[in-house]
């Protein structure tokens, strides 16, 4: 058994020798900051989405609650808080009460491993000095940070699933069955595209991944080819149940989906969790592929250099913003997919593509590690492409055979 | 005082015992599956405790394999349960004697 204290265990940079109030203060401060960012960010996101969607639809959007309607989310929250609560008679009371928290807590916890900023000027590695302590601007930095996020996102399924089941009526059940199938399916594609990043960065810790992207060419967006990024973006949208993958709560089909029977504060928790997930997953995307708080240097000009140590945070916010906008854009533009199309996209497109790309990159990495000559390197690549091509042909052939069989036998699954 | 390897092993034993008891008590095939998972977890716990104890990473490797096998087992088991339940809703293990000679 190790004798290490639990807090430094998740934050290896912290100097454990001087175990006095400074580390405690730092950790406390970080918890506070993360909490506030989570809540304010969510409030902002709700407002942002409604405003942007309104803008895209030639409307004005909320403008009665507070200046520019900024307090709209607050009003929604207060109203929901003071609304009558109800637990349906046929519901499973305990699970019904538990489910919103199962949805909400993981959404919050993801924030704990996201690097929220740091000092990257002049090639520094993102550590900052607070109260005389060297630390990272990140609540926890466990060696398996990325896996932790994956684990949390797989826990998030429970909230949705149990909510639908415990409501004791049909539409929510339908919604939750959809949700669980969808989330399990896309987890695989998510993991595979993530693996390419891990391979490129050579570490599982989020801070390590950020440090590994210190130049634009090292941003995993570019260094892993754009494919994993795209796969990740799509799979993440699906994981988040955002349009066009929002079948779980497709109003037109299954009313409110899993949260149909929820009202009041419990519904607010789902609402909050959904939007918080959007932000935290966007932050994760930025961390993995866009260098997180790393500045985008134009030459050697840093846009947020004036902010000093907070420059990293500003960069992170800017990048996250970009993706929030992309999500809202998706919502405003794309029609919803159908259930079988969703599954087809996940299993027949995203997973094979992510897997193939991963194999390709792995081969390249192998070549680089073994210092192959130019010729053999090219040969390796060609070999890979041939193998992948064959795999693709085999795959399409298998699909068409399966389809023919299904048409002939009329098999149902 | 800090927990020793022995305490982990005892915990593992308890968990295994509960799992085994549950397996014998319950009739619902799904819950019985869950009890098997409990027993597997007890084994995992023991593996990791001893791996840490002896600083041998192979214990953790074994856990990895256990998890994979558990996943495979659940997939097949649930498949069987689904196909049985479809034909005979509400069946408990006592009713399932299809393979009896």
């Amino acid at each position: 058994m190790t004798a290490m204290l639990p807090i430094p265990a998740v934050d290896p940079v912290l100097d454990t020798e001087s175990w006095w109030w400074e580390p405690l203060a730092i950790v406390g401060l970080k918890v506070l900051v993360v909490f506030v960012i989570g809540l304010v960010g969510t409030m902002f996101m709700v407002w942002f989405e409604r405003k942007i969607v309104a803008g895209m639809q030639n409307r004005i959007g909320p403008d009665k609650a507070g200046p520019f309607g900024l307090l709209q989310t607050l009003a929604d929250g207060i109203k929901l808080f003071f609304k009558e609560d109800l637990i349906p008679e046929r519901s499973d009371r305990f699970v019904f009460k538990l489910a919103p928290f199962l949805a909400f807590v993981p959404a919050f916890l993801i924030w704990s491993v996201i690097p929220l900023g740091g000092d990257f000027s002049d090639g520094r590695d993102g550590t900052v000095e607070w109260f005389g302590q060297i630390t990272r601007v990140q609540l926890a930095d466990p060696p398996v940070g990325v896996l932790l996020v994956l684990a949390l996102s797989s826990i998030a399924v429970y909230g949705v699933m149990l909510a639908g089941w415990s409501s004791g009526s049909k539409y929510p059940l339908l919604g939750s069955v959809r949700a669980s199938a969808q989330m399990i399916s896309y987890e695989a594609a998510l993991g595979l595209s993530l693996a390419t990043v891990l391979m490129a960065a050579g570490t599982l810790s989020t801070s390590g991944i950020v440090v590994a992207q210190d130049r634009l060419t090292d941003w995993h967006l570019l260094s892993t080819g754009v494919v994993p990024f795209v796969v990740f973006l799509i799979a993440m949208t699906a994981e988040l149940n955002r349009p066009p993958f929002d079948l779980v709560e497709a109003e037109q089909e299954i009313v409110g989906g899993f949260h149909t029977e929820y009202s009041s504060i419990r519904f607010a928790l789902f609402f909050l969790a959904e939007f918080m997930n959007v932000i935290s997953m966007s932050a994760l995307l930025v961390t993995l592929f866009l260098g997180g708080p790393q500045p985008l240097l134009i030459g050697s000009f840093d846009l947020f250099a004036v902010l000093g140590p907070f420059g990293g945070t500003a960069w992170l916010l800017l990048k996250v913003f970009l993706f929030l906008y992309v999500y809202v854009w998706f919502r405003a533009t794309l029609p919803r997919l159908r259930y079988d199309q969703l599954m087809d996209l996940g299993w027949k497109v995203l997973i094979p593509v992510a897997l193939g790309w991963f194999l390709l990159l792995a081969a390249l990495q192998l070549g680089r590690d073994n210092d192959l000559s130019q010729v053999s390197y090219v040969a390796l690549v060609i070999l890979c492409l041939i193998v992948l091509g064959l795999g693709y042909l085999l795959f399409t052939a298998a699909i068409s055979v399966a389809r023919r069989n299904r048409d002939r036998e009329g098999a149902a699954y | 005082m800090e927990p020793t390897t022995t305490s982990f092993l005892v915990l593992g034993a308890l968990l295994f015992g509960i799992g085994a008891t549950g397996l014998m008590i319950r009739r619902n095939p799904l819950v019985m599956f869950m009890c098997i998972e409990l027993m597997l977890n007890a084994v995992n716990l023991t593996f990791v405790a001893l791996a840490t104890r002896f600083s041998d990473i192979d214990g953790q490797t074994a856990v990895f394999f256990v998890m994979v096998v558990a996943a495979a087992e659940v997939v097949v088991g649930l498949g069987i349960i689904i196909s049985i339940m479809r034909r005979r809703p509400g069946a408990t293990v006592d009713d399932l004697a299809e393979l009896r000679g």
Binding site: R50, R59, I60, G61, P62, A65, L74, F82, K83, D85 | -
Partner: protein
């Protein structure tokens, strides 16, 4: 009213105290009036105008109301838009019962308010026989402007607490049933079969 009140006069204008010392009730009333999600209960012609109110030209989202909830559990206002038939009446009542307190009803259009021109066996002569109505929007169908006026009126009533006060006095809260005329046996079953 301090600086806070001035800054937020746009939104918190209804508050007579400043935010910190103000009674929480005021805050709640403010929140309720600023965020009243409608249950989509479109029935006939009026539903079209109700939806038009949500569209670009009129934009109900300014009041934070573009969140049409499909599930009555999460809705605050039921806008009964259109004629309510005898067959629909039980459903209407059921949806109303499924809504959570506090809840309000806007009766949109003359058909919902009084049966309108359809004074016959099929139509419920006024939806207030089934659910308590807070605001009536006249018109056949009411234009989006009329509906917005009705919504604004309701918001005003919510924010001033008028509706709550009235219910305290008369006991006619939304959860107390208005003396109910059974929806299925209005005296119209005169013909022989």
């Amino acid at each position: 009213m301090g600086a806070v009140g001035d800054v937020l006069s746009d939104g918190l204008g209804g508050l007579s105290h400043n935010v910190i010392t103000g009674r929480i009730e005021d805050l709640v009333k403010w929140a309720r009036s600023r965020s009243s999600w409608p249950a989509s209960f479109g029935l006939a012609c009026c539903a079209i105008e109700m939806m038009a109110t949500g569209a670009a030209h009129y934009d109900i989202s300014r009041f934070g109301m573009e969140v049409f909830r499909a599930s009555p559990r999460q809705a605050d206002i039921m806008i009964v838009a259109g004629r309510v038939s005898q067959k629909m009446a039980p459903v209407l009542r059921q949806v109303y019962d499924q809504m959570m307190e506090p809840k309000w009803v806007i009766s949109m259009g003359v058909c919902a308010s009084s049966g309108g021109m359809f004074n016959n066996y099929a139509i419920v002569q006024g939806v207030d026989q089934i659910v308590p109505v807070d605001v009536y929007a006249p018109g056949c169908p009411p234009t989006p402007e009329t509906l917005i006026h009705a919504i604004e009126t309701l918001h005003g009533l919510i924010e001033s607490g008028e509706i709550m006060r009235r219910r305290e006095v008369t006991g006619a809260g939304a959860d107390v049933h208005v003396q109910e005329i059974p929806a299925t046996s209005v005296p119209v079953l005169l013909g022989s079969s």
